[in-house]
Subunit: 347 residues, 2 copies
């Protein structure tokens, strides 16, 4: 039904966003001989990236020499665009697609690797893009795919083995994306629950902030693992309430991504939580990061989603209280541990 991505070897695969995932996806596709064009919102960033092929956002990474670079909103979709990869931090997707959406042909499949939920609208990345594109005249629904998994950027940059899940309502599109992105070090599974995969990728960042706080407080791996399990249970409860499949949360893009985000020393959300646990103010943490810490804004959205769907999410509520309501991490961990004794409930 949907056009095969990049079926024409001359077609352009457009990567939107020059953060870690945009750079990495560009390299994978260029490495397979595809014609890749990468767009960044800041002309001076793109100006530096073009000759150096290096980015401060991903130390040690070298951008493939054949990747075209542009910061020109009108240029990104020029030519025969065969695929779009959305790799924009969630809270900026609306603004970016308002800038560039006009030139999009409306036919090429869109693969989103963004992990978050928009504040106020509570929309997922693919929903935000769909909403913007719907407003353009004469557009049919664009085929979309979510690509997500445990993907700490610095490890992908070194081609260390990893897995992702390609989730779409169209299984033929999911299979095409599987074929297009898989390499001998990146294994990709298909999945037909894009809602669950996208939600898992967003919500795990909230739990990772809590996991980082556990690290910052120095209370150990047992507590962090319990928090991972209880966090998984609460994000799965939310997912099921929203119509996602429970088992998505127990797969590579669910518990797998949650585990790497909670345990890798390089996870941005975990590191943010660790600094908070050590007493560093939130704004200082944000100001000192070269990349967007998705989980901070996502915490606001997930708390609202929990209220809307009437789901009990005590860890999310605690992270929200620490980030935005002045609760001390130590008090929060204590409150989570001394909640009334009861049977364990999962899902």
């Amino acid at each position: 039904m949907s056009p095969r991505p990049a079926s024409n070897p001359q077609s352009v695969l457009a990567i939107i966003g020059d953060g870690q995932m945009g750079l990495l996806m560009a390299n994978i596709l260029a490495g397979k001989g595809c014609r890749v064009r990468l767009w960044g919102h800041d002309a001076s960033d793109i100006g530096r990236l073009s000759p150096s092929r290096q980015s401060e956002r991903l130390p040690g990474f070298t951008l493939h020499g054949q990747v075209e670079l542009t910061a020109d909103d009108a240029a990104i979709f020029e030519g025969d665009c065969g695929l779009v990869v959305n790799a924009v931090p969630t809270q900026f997707i609306r603004g970016v697609w308002r800038r560039i959406g006009e030139g999009f042909n409306g036919r090429a499949p869109i693969v989103s690797v963004s992990k978050g939920i928009e504040n106020d609208t509570l929309l997922r990345p693919t929903q935000i893009i769909a909403e913007i594109l719907r407003h353009a005249p004469g557009r049919a629904a664009v085929p979309m795919c979510v690509l997500s998994g445990p993907t700490i950027g610095s490890e992908l940059a070194r081609s260390l083995p990893a897995t992702m899940v390609a989730a779409s309502e169209s299984q033929s599109l999911a299979k095409d994306i599987q074929s297009l992105f898989c390499t001998d070090w990146l294994r990709i599974y298909t999945n037909d629950d894009p809602l669950g995969v996208e939600l898992a990728g967003a919500t795990k960042n909230v739990i990772a902030i809590a996991a980082g706080m556990v690290d910052g407080l120095g209370v150990g791996c047992n507590a962090k693992s319990a928090l991972l399990a209880r966090g998984l249970a609460e994000i799965a409860r939310l997912g099921v309430a929203m119509g996602a499949r429970l088992d998505t949360f127990f797969g590579v893009a669910g518990v797998g991504d949650l585990a790497t985000t909670c345990f890798s020393s390089e996870g941005r959300n975990r590191s943010c939580g660790e600094s908070l646990g050590r007493g560093v103010p939130l704004q200082t943490v944000i100001d000192s990061s070269s990349s967007v810490i998705e989980g901070v804004a996502t915490t606001r959205s997930v708390k609202s989603l929990a209220q809307r769907h009437n789901v009990d999410m005590p860890i999310t509520a605690a992270v929200h209280a620490i980030l935005f309501e002045g609760l001390h991490p130590h008090s929060a961990i204590r409150e989570l541990m001394i909640r009334e004794r009861k049977p364990e409930r999962v899902g």
Copy 2:
């Protein structure tokens, strides 16, 4: 139905085993004012522990001064025994209970914290004990409870926050155990799936050996997290095939214990895998460990259970091939990554 554990303040709570968990459980109960007696199979170990209150198996730990110690098979159950804690490495449970079982009153509930599956018989710890006690004349079925969770010993020794699950077919017993063992740093959930909890605690050690190999090979956190997710899926598949509840594997005693075992630098099974990944021979690893590495023997049992129940367990098969069939860890990881592309299946 079952007698309340330790309802008489003079009754003896008997801890069988002087490994990490035996020592830790003894301290929790003694710290609550219970009369605790700890049995170890080796008189010289007990002879050293008695005056020093220190054990090489748990550096930094000090045994509570009121814990009685014995290596006398006839003495452990002397007096009014109100509760037994089984903390013996799985492959030794049969031998130990053959030695001490004669003196057991047959009424006190038995709480097992052992994590493994017996070779050849493929029985879980509580099943082994039940089988031995059945052979004693005139014995009714003994009430049993499984107590399990993410419990790296060195962290419990420092009273860092942790969680466990008390699982029993008798919910009143599970609640009694919850009350008896909970402290202000140890939160305990009840659960009615002892089969699932006991199986999760055993099988996670096999996955942890694989996780350690990933560490030893230096292939990163993304690969280890994917392995955790795929490992969780395969042990959950086995559990469901054996009659356990799926959601038990996604709770604190399932994914929580799996996570801490795979990620804590102090996990014995993970450390064993890491050494193997670095090329150290298995026997050398075993000889240099002061404690039993449960996962090694358990791997044999889990592979047999997978065959018996016709469950696909590729990670377990790979660990078995590395431990006992001469496969190199690097080849195994490679084989796991390049299996045919397909949809993800969980549970």
